[in-house]
């Protein structure tokens, strides 16, 4: 499968900002945030359509999220993931002595993850942090 070198941006989106107020376990939050805006030609190049899943990998980690059409103009070679727990799976902790990690402009690899699932918040926490989330009795 084709792998594309892209630059990753993460940031606010209006829907992310609105949906986080609805609750981070909500379906609407999941739909607004566990996704990645990709330029039309880039997604074609990796053989996918919007709505299918992609894997984004950086030197820090890898995450599967849904590919969506850009809500604002997006050039080739740039992908945008709204702030949230999916974006931070692949962000690095180096702060260059400033305290600020790099959330924008990270070099990453984009590839198809057609057959893989996007993990929910619950599943992601379980997997990433190896904790069993048990509901209160």
């Amino acid at each position: 499968m084709k792998k594309l070198q892209v630059t990753l941006l993460s940031g606010r989106s209006l829907s992310q900002g609105r949906e986080k107020e609805q609750g981070k376990l909500s379906k609407s939050y999941f739909q607004s945030v566990a996704c990645c805006e990709i330029n039309g030609e880039d997604i074609k190049e990796i053989g996918l359509d919007y709505g299918e899943n992609v894997r984004i990998s950086t030197k820090y980690g890898s995450v599967v999220i849904k590919a969506i059409a850009p809500k604002q103009t997006l050039e080739r070679g740039i992908v945008f993931i709204p702030y949230g727990i999916w974006a931070t799976q692949i962000s690095g902790s180096e702060t260059d002595g400033t305290g600020m990690p790099s959330y924008k402009g990270i070099s990453s690899t984009l590839e198809s993850a057609k057959k893989e699932k996007v993990l929910t918040v619950n599943q992601l926490i379980k997997k990433s942090f190896r904790r069993k989330i048990t509901k209160k009795r």
Partner: protein
């Protein structure tokens, strides 16, 4: 119960601190809100979603309901025993709560940091070096004939910014949109860029080069390049002319500048550009603060400790060295042995490695809602929303302090941050005597 309409409520979402909200309350619930942007009405109408209504403590692998007294006692014991507790968050609560938080960190000899360190921390690092030519938002509304958004996308992150304070607002000396020019500088054509008179698209991670080239052009130096940061040189020189020839310019910048390559150096360059422009015309600069009271977190921490974030109390007096004493770095190095998170979700927002360390130490969270951080916590203390369920003071992004209102009661039995933190501080002092 009849309907009750409260006007001029202060919004507690972003740094705009719009205070013209009209909130309708029916049967002790907010049912309608006027004048609010999408994020604000999202919060005002969704504040009851996924609430935690009872303190919870982990017993074995299960979170069990408990009382505030027990949860506070367990928290006090944990942080008093720790040699380097981390107190993090603070940007979504009131000044009154933050003050107690600083004292908690001081009393336990821990670290006190707020979301600035992953947001506009680099801005503050720039201000330490250069200073800042700024003003309150009304000055821009009245006087600015040139407004720049650089690495900021207010349509999405500060929806009412332009209509209340900048290009779409009405000022004493600038009556309409036609009296002002909007310039947007970004790596992609955002929705804000679509409204611009001039849009400059630069290559990602090259803001520093563009800023420096702009400074040179403003000074009248000759730039020996055809293209800088993906922008042709004559475009840069045109932009410089616009800056010099305006009567009052305002540069707003966001995380596009603080988070990309260069970080604090980008901001130093921006602050320097604006300082230098003041020799030719009037120019101001302002960071677009995201969380509604991150400016308050900075101010309170500064007057109590001298420093705005990343404060280290482990030596018995405030120390400050972002990059060393900031939360992400501390956690990535595995340095904190317990953490109290207030009104923040670092499990979601911190890079993975730092978030991972949080899950390996006793983690206590004070928050109204279920979040990935509460889901990983050992102790959870539910709290009331400032500006909705309790009063509290907050700072707008330009330093103006507003008193928020209590509009409705919190869920039964849920306490405020101030109540929880005061009780906690009292216990901690007792245990450390």
């Amino acid at each position: 119960m009849s309907q009750n309409v409260i006007s001029n409520a202060v919004c507690t979402v972003c740094g705009c601190s719009c205070d013209h909200l009209e909130v309708t309350i029916d049967e002790e619930k907010i049912v309608k809100v006027k004048n609010a942007c999408a994020m604000s009405s999202g919060k005002m109408l969704g504040y009851m979603n996924e609430r935690i209504t009872q303190p919870l403590m982990k017993k074995g692998n299960t979170l069990k309901p408990t009382t505030y007294d027990r949860a506070i006692e367990a928290t006090a014991k944990t942080i008093t025993k720790s040699s380097s507790p981390l107190f993090y968050g603070w940007s979504l609560t009131s000044n009154e709560a933050i003050e107690i938080g600083v004292d908690l960190a001081e009393e336990t000899g821990g670290f006190f940091d707020n979301t600035t360190s992953t947001c506009h921390g680099p801005t503050i690092l720039g201000v330490h070096e250069i200073g800042e030519s700024s003003c309150t938002l009304g000055e821009i509304r009245h006087r600015a004939d040139l407004v720049i958004y650089w690495g900021a996308n207010p349509v999405h992150a500060h929806p009412l910014h332009m209509s209340r304070y900048t290009v779409m607002s009405k000022g004493r000396f600038r009556k309409s949109r036609a009296d002002r020019k909007l310039i947007v500088i970004d790596v992609r054509k955002t929705d804000t860029a679509k409204l611009a008179d001039v849009f400059i698209q630069l290559k990602p991670n090259s803001d520093y080069e563009l800023m420096v080239a702009l400074r040179a052009a403003v000074r009248g130096d000759e730039i020996e390049q055809e293209i800088v940061a993906g922008v042709p040189i004559d475009k840069i020189e045109e932009l410089a002319e616009m800056l010099i020839n305006c009567e009052f310019g305002a540069l707003f910048f966001g995380l596009g500048l603080t988070m990309s390559a260069g970080k604090s150096k980008n901001i130093e360059a921006a602050l320097s550009l604006v300082a230098e422009l003041n020799s030719k015309t009037k120019f101001v600069i302002m960071p677009m603060r995201g969380h509604f009271n991150v400016t308050g977190a900075n101010n309170v921490t500064t007057w109590l400790t001298g420093y705005p974030y990343a404060v280290d109390f482990t030596q018995g007096f405030p120390r400050y060295n972002p990059g060393e004493t900031s939360a992400v770095d501390l956690l990535a190095r595995g340095e904190c042995d317990s953490a109290l998170i207030v009104a923040s979700d670092p499990i979601s927002n911190f890079p993975y490695q730092a978030a991972k360390h949080l899950t390996s130490v006793p983690l206590i969270t004070i928050d109204p809602h279920i979040t990935p951080t509460t889901m990983c916590s050992n102790i959870i203390l539910p709290s009331a929303h400032v500006g909705i369920e309790t009063t509290g003071s907050t700072y707008r992004m330009d330093g103006v302090v507003l008193e928020t209102r209590k509009l409705v009661d919190p869920p039964k039995g849920v306490k405020t941050d101030v109540e929880i933190l005061s009780a906690l501080l009292k216990r901690v002092k007792f245990l450390s005597r």
